[in-house]
Amino acid sequence: MNKANQDQPPSDIEDSQTSSDSSDGSSKYAGLFRRPETGAFMGMALVFIVFGFFGYEKNFLSVIGSSTWVNHASTIGIIAIPIGFLMIAGELDISVGAVLPASAMTLGVTSGYYDLPIWIGITLTLCIAAAIGWINGMIVTRTQVPSLIVTLATLFAVSGLTLSLAILTTNTTQVALNAPGWAKALFGGRYLGGFRSSVFWWIGLTACFIFILHYSKWGNWIFALGGDKESARNAGIPTNKLKIALFMLVAVCTALAGICQAIQFNSAQSPTNFTLIFNTIIAVVVGGVLLTGGFGSVMGIFFGTLTLGIVQQGINFTNIDRNLSSLIIGVMLLIAVLMNDTFRALATSWSTQKKKNGGDI
């Protein structure tokens, strides 16, 4: 099989009668609207303006005020991007609701209760999470059971295991953890007037994930996997290995978020975090990822997560009835899904709209 011809000259592509108008200004502007993150950005800008306006009085926009909703978003964001990868690849993982407390508890029990060095606790936590991800991935790829059901099962299994192991080892479901200085600085510190370490992890990971999804070949594989699994396999993409890797990535990132939380707040709790499941899915969908797979972007998920953070936390800075925050999120989610459909239609209608009378068909 001959490899892609790297030294192919930028040949005679423009030699036909059909004008290549895709490079002019108006088309570039239109291209912006076809990107999956555009809708997410506009939604974020909208809620930012609304809450910035109504919450201005209570310092919503100040550094310390912003830190509260950015901090809140960071935990969700660290998990939401790999969840988004999975969703782009056509799968779902809801076991994160149990993996987060399980990770925090693992660290809390090993390094808090048993007083082992924190790096041992962190290593163990990441390994256990990777193992859970691997199990999820193996079951999903080896059986035909939908990932929603598989991870629903692991959600409950892991949550039950966490609770019973916690009671077994420490006889309580909440353990205190005092991390040494370096770990506190790395995972549970506060910088620039109130931003938690997790915020910087989130930003750093976002950069890595942008590279992986949009610039590396693995990103292409993820899109192909979600676009059409059979074709992806026929094209020689190791679809099963890729899926397992993605499930492991989700679990490991969730564990990282759990580690940050446990170290930041000096304690770990075992109750299952059901809200996290909804929050990550909302962030991803509001971020423009298609539930059926094959379409999405990291920046979109980033904006979607910030939007969620603004709405969930911003309401406390306003006089809006607290009971309405869930309503706002529900409405926002619906609008996001409808908008996603529109943007996708725009994206795929590009050529047919542009060249009604051109071409040869």
């Binding site: 100040s62 707040f265 109750p271």
Partner: protein
């Protein structure tokens, strides 16, 4: 009020923290899906009328649920600080997580008053006061009450395993019952059954079927008591099982009235919300301070003997 500022100006002044004006206080509390907190919220709102009449403001901040309790509470504390409040009223549920944030708030000159949970943290926080019941003492009172009424084996139901206040309530029940010569069986239900009436009811039914020597149940929340009553009803075990609960609700009281429930332990959440808000504001504004500390708002046991007056309070949303 600077609401007329244009958005552009707003963006330009993003990083300028506006100073607090008048006396603003934040009250941080539990999820409003929980009936208890609606009663407490009424207390906060009633006190809020007085606060506003004196030029202050109250911002009531709630955790959305109890899934991610410690971090959520800290986020709310940080928000209150960010909003430039002068005082915070808050329960201490997860000390490891909350204490650093509260100490940081105090360092900024914010006055802290505690309610509902965390009496033992008053000194460390230099808190203004504590309004609430002592969970353990209330548990002892409840356990003793049912044991003295003749219950030999009491089931104590914990809906959120690991929540310290709930654990100490049941510990109190264990010790109170033992004092009166009865035994207690503590059941920790999985946290996903929290607020799940049907699930909890079936789970309690299973416990009652599994061990027919259980002749008393103490639940730690009003909704859980509804679930327990339903389980007892399904089994037709009203004569066998006495039911007691922490916290009141209209359904708890109507069961007490009709004799289907033995008692309810009231910690009077209305007072917790009202007194913590009112005294915190008064301290900031007028420099007053209650000398008694901590101020216990419970336990007050409601049973057939005093049901009438309790019902009147429930009708007004304050009990």
């Amino acid at each position: 009020m600077n609401i007329k500022k244009t958005l552009a100006t707003m963006a330009a002044t993003t990083f300028i923290a506006t100073g607090a004006w008048a006396q603003d206080i934040a009250v941080i509390g539990g999820s409003i899906n929980d009936g208890f907190w609606n009663i407490l919220k009424k207390g906060v709102e009633d006190a809020g009328l007085m606060v506003e009449a004196n030029g202050g403001s109250v911002n009531y901040l709630l955790v959305p649920n109890y899934d991610n309790f410690g971090p959520d509470l800290v986020t709310l504390i940080e928000q209150a600080v960010a909003q430039g409040v002068d005082g915070i009223a808050i329960p201490v549920w997860v000390p490891e997580s909350q204490m650093p944030a509260l100490l940081a708030a105090r360092e900024k000159g914010i006055v802290i008053t505690l309610y509902n949970a965390g009496a033992d943290k008053m000194e460390e926080l230099g808190a203004l006061n504590y309004f609430g019941s002592d969970e353990y003492v209330a548990g002892v009172a409840g356990g003793k009450y049912l044991a003295e009424k003749g219950a030999m084996k009491i089931l104590c139901h914990i809906q959120i395993p690991g929540a310290i206040n709930l654990e100490s309530r049941c510990q109190g029940v264990v010790d109170g019952a033992k004092e009166a010569g009865s035994e207690t069986y503590v059941v920790r239900m999985p946290a996903n059954l929290d607020q799940d009436m049907v699930g909890t009811s079936e789970a309690l039914k299973a416990e009652l079927i599994g061990d027919d020597s259980i002749d008393g149940i103490i639940t730690l929340a009003a909704w859980a008591s509804d679930a327990a009553a339903n389980a007892i009803e399904q089994l037709g075990a009203n004569d066998r099982v006495m039911l007691g609960t922490f916290d009141l609700s209209s359904s708890v009281l109507s069961r007490i009235e009709s004799g289907k429930q033995t008692m309810g332990i009231d910690q009077q959440p209305y007072y917790q919300g009202f007194l913590s808000t009112a005294t915190l504001f008064a301290h900031l504004k007028f420099g007053t301070k209650i000398v008694t500390e901590p101020v216990l708002t419970g336990p007050a046991i409601v049973d057939a003997s005093n049901i009438e007056s309790a019902l009147a309070g429930v009708a007004l949303g304050a009990r």
